[in-house]
């Protein structure tokens, strides 16, 4: 619910979402780095659509990590709450984000293959970052189970049968670290879930998210273009049909 998103100071949120303040010039990205403010509360979102994905018939997309449709459907509903369908275009489900996350969990991302996973493990301070012994795959598995448990506890219903605001209430409880998890805080799981949702919405479609490049299209990002040398001095905003990196393979 709207009110449930209150309570984290902007500073805390910035700290815990891994978002720096200010503009990074120092060899860094220039991002939308300020302005994340959960202090003033959120706004009610309409209940998300409940279909799980609408890939076109020719694309071959399947589950590589999840073995259980209930878990996958729960993930789908949760990410749709984070990035819902609206009049701008598809939400997380329409963009294929659940498949993106599934596929990523089955690979290096899920097994933290390129990260330091040697113990001993201690909780640490927020400034020290990820200190869990869990891989992302293990964290997602546990997080999804916990979301289902919360739904049963609060409403005696499966998560996927809740209405939008009830789902939001549960997601917010994770965000505010009110749910007990083992080996990781629920707030950290929320952060990873939110980030993965954005990754799936805006990564190149070769990763089975950003279906039809609609994430890019909504945002006005043209994806892979060879060069802007002839356009970059133009005062006019350029609407360019986006292109996937896959066009490089032919």
């Amino acid at each position: 619910m709207a009110d449930e998103r209150k309570g984290l100071s902007r500073r805390d949120f910035l700290k815990t979402t891994g978002i720096a303040t200010g503009a990074l010039v120092g060899g860094g990205l220039i991002g939308g780095l300020v302005g994340y403010n959960v202090n003033k509360g959120g706004v009610e979102t309409k209940s998300g659509t409940k279909n799980t994905g609408n890939h076109d018939a020719t694309s071959v997309v399947g589950l590589m990590f999840f073995t259980n449709h209930a878990d996958f459907n729960l993930l789908s509903q949760a990410v749709e709450r984070i990035f819902p369908e609206d009049d701008l275009g598809p939400g997380a489900i329409g963009l294929g984000v659940p498949y993106f996350i599934d596929n990523q969990l089955a690979g290096n991302y899920g097994s933290n293959a390129r990260e330091y996973m040697i113990g001993p493990f201690f909780a640490g301070e927020a400034t020290q970052g990820y200190q869990s012994r869990l891989t992302r795959a293990e964290m997602f598995r546990q997080g999804i189970t916990k979301m289902e448990e919360e739904a049963q506890k609060r409403y005696q219903k499966p998560f996927v049968d809740l209405d939008g605001s009830q789902m939001d209430e549960i997601i917010t409880a994770f965000q505010k670290n009110e749910v007990e998890m083992k080996g990781v805080s629920s707030e950290f799981f929320f952060r990873v879930l939110r980030q993965a949702t954005l990754e799936g919405a805006y990564a190149d479609p070769i990763y089975n998210g950003n279906n039809n490049m609609d994430g890019w299209r909504m945002k006005g990002f043209p994806g892979h273009q060879m060069a802007y040398i002839n356009l970059i001095e133009d005062e006019k905003f350029q609407k360019i049909e986006p292109k996937s990196i896959s066009t490089m393979q032919h």
């Binding site: 991002g31 701008l88 330091y116 927020a126 954005l198 990754e199 043209p222 060069a227 040398i229 970059i232």
Partner: protein, 570 residues
Amino acid sequence: MAKTMDKVNVVTVGVGWMGGIIAAECAKAGLKVRGLERGKPRGTADYQMIHDEYRYAIRYELMQDLSKETITFRNHRKMRALPMRQLGSFLLGENLGGAGTHWNGHTFRFLPYDFQIKTMTEQKYGKNKLSADYLLQDWGVTYDELEPYFDKFEKTAGISGENTNPFAGKRSNDFPTPPMKRTPILKKFETAASSLGYHPYMLPSANLSEAYENPDGEAINACQYCGFCERFGCEYGAKTSPEITVVPTAMKTGNFDITFHANVIEILKSGNKVTGVKYVDTQSGEEFIQPADVVVLTSYVMNNAKLLMVSNIGEQYNPDTGRGTLGKNYGYQILPGVTGFFDEQMNVFMGAGALGMTIDDFNGDSFDHSNLDFIHGASISITQPGVRPIQTNPIPPDVPAWGAEFKKASIENYTRMLSIGGQGASMPHKENFMSLDPDYRDAYGVPLLQLTYNFTEQDRNLHKFLTDRIAEIMKEMGAKTVVPGNPISDYDIVPYQTTHNTGGTIMGTDPANSVVNTYLQHWDAENLFVVGAGNFPHNGGYNPTGTIGALAYRAAEAIQKYSKTGGSLV
């Protein structure tokens, strides 16, 4: 038993910018040079699928594999240091070219003030401007002594720029190539900064404005403004990097080769000389000894310090007694910045890593600090690097971080948001240092480097002052909403800030307060040289590579001299 390889004249540990420069210069002079690089070979042909934010910018494909090695970190001595398990605050390099492959290409010269900071601060503001907890010292070389080497690095790299910055040190030559294009976004900044009385100039760039052949005969192409630059390799060979310049130059001589998958774990020492290094073949697990007349550490700030520590060369800095120099004066940067939201849509997705405009009106000592509670300052820049959609979801204050309102605002503002940022100099503090971690080890059984670092009072004051100045520029640019960055509190290793780490193996004129002399020759071992931003006694208000490049060229000359004469160079 480690197998012993044939002796070479010079061995470099790591082949990034610094290893490449040392190799090129020494090999041209006829010395037999071997580079030991823990990573793999790579070059322009490997960057064809590079326009992929997810693989390269988010999952860090080109950077260090932390499952093998990382650092541990704590904010202060009472905190338990824990491993940096995922990359974040800085992005360490690996493989041929090191971080010089995925850098932006902002190529500055530190200010004359930087090299004589202690003397000049005391002259102007007295001895007590900063408390004794700050370990300021002059570098032992002046800007004028370094100028020919700056010039040399810029010519090798073909840097594009304009010589109009009134606060910069004197140049003997103009930039080798003209500045990059002044885009509408940059012009907005230029107009605003000029009308406030500041002095904007085009950021000196290693994304070249035109095709160029450097004095070694290496060709660098013209930048296409493709927007996939920082964190990516350039598929056009238009971003100057070691693998298209100094490495081929070294190779052409026939005097240089590189052993890949060679992770150096120890420097071998006998008396007041080193005899070579020991490395592990990361594919077979076998150990090798590489004997050499001269050992040059070019393995970046972190590993340079770590290798000296695990090899017991030099005295570890102790913050209680102030004794010891190794690990001392670690510095980072602070990034005051402001975001502005505009009504009009802009082509923010077009760009290049070092496409930008800068002012130095609040950098170094170019403004009066008499009534300010800090010294130094920051360069202030707007850049147009090509803003990426996964990482950039700008929402004004009050918008929640997820859900319908988030989606709408982040999409709406993606093309309507600009940022101006400052790169703030960080001053060395007695509590900020590097040492060896007692608990955690890398994949080869070597202790991890431990970082103890926090922002200090000086940083916070500087940050606040600069944020206010930057906000004024953003207002002048006509943003409808101006959102200054929050005041800084504790250093946080999670969000990316800069890969501009300095200190730990600092240079100077006295073995009592430096690790290497002004030729980067180790005080305790005359045939050991340590090259990198670790040599900086303090961090400046710019990106470091131009300045380390100059120091490396000077060191390369010294190594050649040493190879003939032997002994200490000072």
